[in-house]
């Protein structure tokens, strides 16, 4: 402990001057890319919300103008049914953001809570939770998702709920693994000895430590949830057919013609997914720095 104080005395002082929340916010804002990510995500969300304002009708088909390259009239070209790609990208953002961010938020929370409990409590609780994880992880996710979505009835809500409720084992294992390690570490022991309550320890000390791994998990989770939704749409279990989603749009690239001859059909949604994922990643980085006062940024 002494070593730590010696190493970064200035920071410790700095932290103590403000309330922890404001300090965290300050550290987050100082993380330039996190701010960029935040701005980016805000723009994407705003585009989704005001999709009707910034684009024309996403369902309007023009049989005389199918698979047209980008032009003044159609900024990103038209798709194989003669629909405006830009309109479909911004309208598709609604579906994809809700699925990507919503489902991942649900399962990261569930996974963190259960993984935290398993890692901290250990013993029977750990054993029970981990066997549930084993079971869920051993059954092909898509199969489970298909069955549950089919049972509830396909809709945007059920896709989010089902991916969210079934996707947590990964996060759970990850958190639990780190908890196992951290539980035994000196400063947690110290905190326990001092009598800090377990939830307190969890929130104050452990959460910042697993934040970076969780951010990565969430980053990739968002991308795969967006793509999984497209898979479900293909099975008739996602959003209703003409409603656009990024995954559905990028799926078109399965056709060699689309992949090579009309790349604007899949590059636009591909970039949209990448930008969303990138901003989630940067925000995750920023959160880690914000929540973990120890984090030093060497440049």
């Amino acid at each position: 402990m002494a070593l730590r104080a010696d190493a970064q005395p200035i920071q410790v002082v700095a932290v103590e001057r403000h309330s922890p929340g404001r300090a965290a916010l300050r550290r987050f804002v100082r993380h330039r890319l996190a701010v960029v990510g935040m701005v980016l995500l805000t723009i994407i969300v705003l585009l989704a919300v005001f999709a009707d304002v910034v684009s024309s009708r996403p369902f309007f088909t023009d049989v005389k103008a199918v698979s047209q390259p980008p032009s003044a009239e159609h900024l990103l070209g038209t798709d194989r049914s003669g629909r405006d790609v830009w309109a479909r990208v911004v309208h598709g953002a609604r579906t994809s953001l809700v699925v990507g961010l919503g489902a991942v938020a649900i399962y990261v929370v569930i996974g963190t809570v259960l993984g935290g409990i398993a890692g901290v409590r250990g013993g029977r609780t750990d054993f029970a939770i981990m066997r549930a994880v084993d079971t869920l992880m051993s059954i092909p996710t898509l199969l489970l998702v298909i069955v549950f979505v089919a049972a509830i009835g396909p809709s945007l809500f059920s896709v989010v709920a089902v991916i969210g409720l079934l996707g947590w084992p990964g996060a759970c294992r990850l958190v639990r693994g780190q908890m196992l390690s951290l539980r035994e570490s000196e400063y947690i022991m110290a905190a326990r000895v001092v009598g800090v309550s377990m939830p307190g320890i969890l929130f104050r000390h452990l959460l910042p430590n697993i934040m970076s791994s969780l951010a990565v998990l969430a980053t990739f989770g968002v991308a795969s949830a967006i793509i999984l939704e497209a898979g479900l749409s293909f099975l008739g279990l996602g959003v209703k057919v003409p409603v656009p989603s990024w995954g559905e749009m990028i799926n078109a690239a399965q056709s060699p013609t689309v992949l090579i001859d009309t790349p604007w059909l899949w590059i636009a949604p591909g970039i949209a997914i990448a930008l969303t994922v990138l901003s989630v990643n940067f925000i995750g980085d920023g959160l880690r720095d914000a929540l973990d006062p120890r984090a030093v940024r060497r440049r």
Partner: protein, 555 residues
Amino acid sequence: MRTRGLAMLTVAALAFSACQAATPSASSVPPASVAPGGSAASVAPSTATGGGVTDTLQMHWLGDLTAIWHPASQETFSQAVNFQLMFDKLIERKWDGATWTPVADLADTWDISPDGLTWTFHLHPGIKWHDGEAFTANDVAFTVSRALLNTRKNTQNAWAAVVGVDKVTDPNGIASGVKVIDDNTISLTIGAPNADFVSDLTDPSAFIVPQHILKDTDPKAVETIEFSTTKPIGTGPYKFIKYETDQYSQFEANPDYFQGAPKIKNVFVKRLLGDQAIAQLESGDLDLSIRLNPAEKGRLEKVPTLDVLSTSGVGTYGPYMNMLTLTDVKTRKAIAMGVDAQGIIDSIYNGAGHINRGVLPGMPAADDQEFFDYDPAKAKQLLDESSWDKSKPLRIVFDKSFAGVEQWTPIMQQNLQDIGFKVELIGLETTAAIEMYDKIDQFDVTIAQGGAQGVSPFASQIYFSCKQTEPAHFKTYSRNCAIDDGFVAARKEIDETKRTEIFKSVSKLINDEVEKVSWWTTNALSAKTKRLQGVTIPPDTREFITGVQNWTLTP
């Protein structure tokens, strides 16, 4: 199934003329030029590398496959492609671009008794099975008589029409309607005049199987006997070597083939996804591919090593109305006339298709029949006059696996919304779609994909069997018994002119119901390497293997 429905029926039914017998005497190719049969391991390495291989053909047919090699169990088109390579039928059919004619296969000639009931087949002498045993009329008698005892039998079975086949109980018994006259002559008697019997004889379920191998097997175990799983023996141009599950089936030339030894030694029928096939054609890993997605035509035409063949094919699309919910004929007409079929052909299929005027494939249209050409103004007016509640969604179910369907259904949706419908599209994956058709209160229209020209109209009869109540989706049909009666009458009518007249009246009846409408037919897209010679893709793609023994690969 119904959506893929109608005459696609006969894609299987009449399909796949194995071993076209147009020139049975053409066996002048010296068998010495082809090495006798061998195992998979003994396949000789080709001398050439890369694109220059001339002794090995790699082809592909898109579709599901049941890997049982007994023709009785034929239930997928891909299976029939394999059967064609290794088996023969009594007679075959030849498509000349407008009509089809029966031609010789195992039987050189055949006579029909004046009453149309007794068919006598004169078999080509000296034919041998792949294992060297002689083929005789007894093999035919065996195949016919045992047909209905086999498990997993194809229900659309030509032999069911032969007298006594349904009464055979002994696996080696001979049906009363089957008479072996001598080793090369056999007669079959059918119970009633049947204008369609000749086309039934060209069905993939009508391949002849060897008595000497199957006589000691249990017909109740067709799917597990060695013959079905690993060692099918036929008389066809190619011998079966092996099947690697989900990868390929491998064949080797039969040097003793009675219609001439095949010139290409090895044939692989690959299992691939449609998009993979395109890539493999471009990379030279595939020599021939049938049934590609017509939307990929433009891309393939740019590849210099390929011949792209766009032939009037197996993609008839149109709405099937749910007669329980679309009770007013005006509503149905509004749907039929409300979709810009030509626009869809031009934009989605690059013009590779045409508007359909006849109601059913192979059925002549009546002279005074009404056509439902695209006319949005008229359609709108019809809808306004009809009893349809426009605030209700018009629920249209379709199978997403149909080529191009995901591209044109939004256009259809927009067309129908423009005339006043509120349209809900329900796109499902094949199995889910099949299940949906029986939930008869959950849809108003299903999209059907059907077959092509050259198909006998009888293939579509099942959709009009007015008394059928199972499965549930039959209840959504018009159930007009006059149509069914018309089919029955036509089947009994052997005189072709009179039969055409009956069909015309049936066509009008069906058309007046506005129940099953076909909007357009797309062309079938096939592609082959320019090095492959002798292949003709008939207007009907299913006959493509005909004459495979004459195909060659140039270096």
